[in-house]
Symmetry: D2
Subunit: 92 residues, 4 copies
């Protein structure tokens, strides 16, 4: 993953937070908590996952699709922004 | 969560498997693994989460929306099946 | 569709608006309009469709899953509200 | 939209088919058809829309994000394929 450590740290922290959310979900299921509570925990974890997924896809598009031997043109950057905006709106 | 232990065990196992998948994702980010590998792990975890979410929603609809003081009518069961089918197809 | 005319009119108007949006999309493709414009039209039509879908599912849950021979209990109504909230958030 | 006429024709035909599907939905609502029938029509139109959206996004990524002054590298093409695969799986 060709990101600098500065870039990657927030991603790791977000992934760890999701790990905690899934752990809370496992516990809620084991403790036979209310179905509504379980659904709420599940839904929060899923939302956090979608938003991390969108972030990772954005990084992949910017670092690996857009950047080749040469700097991308302004039009390519605009087109990438449009794709990223749509991907983010689907993964909300 | 008013499911019997028999019902809940597979849900707990699935939630634990997702926990493992998120753990693998954290590790992949920490080890600066390839962006494609990270995306693949993320995508698998997200898919498993969506499918568990669909399962929990189905249980919620059948146990808590459909079942009140009286047995639901055949038409209510059919309508619930339709809703569940659609929810499942969105969460694939 | 067992809704009164009053209930159904806004749904028909929304479906007709979507028809107009899809028509605009067809025209944009035929006129070889900019790819970004086409995507924007497509995305708006898709959003409107998702939101109408959520509305129809809500109506189906309230009128056909929840309502049988007897009035649903307060707990059933709460559970239905939870399902509807989640379906709406997925279809945003 | 910088696609050749050969490329664009199938997209126009698909958009027109969606237009027909939305028209059928409007009619079903006006004729007070069964709620299940309405949902089925809505769901089919939405699926067709999602799949057309995925197609347009793929075209946008290949023609506008990937292609600048220079031919993209093999790695860029692979990365684009990965993004496209994921976008397609979300829009199914």
């Amino acid at each position: 993953m060709s990101h600098t450590i500065k870039d990657k740290l927030p991603l790791i922290l977000r992934a760890k937070r999701i790990q905690g959310q899934v752990q809370a979900l496992v516990r809620a299921l084991e403790e036979e908590r209310d179905c509504s509570d379980v659904l709420q925990l599940m839904s929060a974890a899923r939302g956090a996952m979608n938003s991390l997924m969108a972030e990772l896809l954005e990084g992949h598009i910017r670092s690996h699709v857009l950047s080749g031997r040469q700097k991308p043109t302004a039009q390519q950057v605009v087109a990438a922004d449009e794709v990223i905006d749509m991907v983010k709106s689907y993964l909300k």
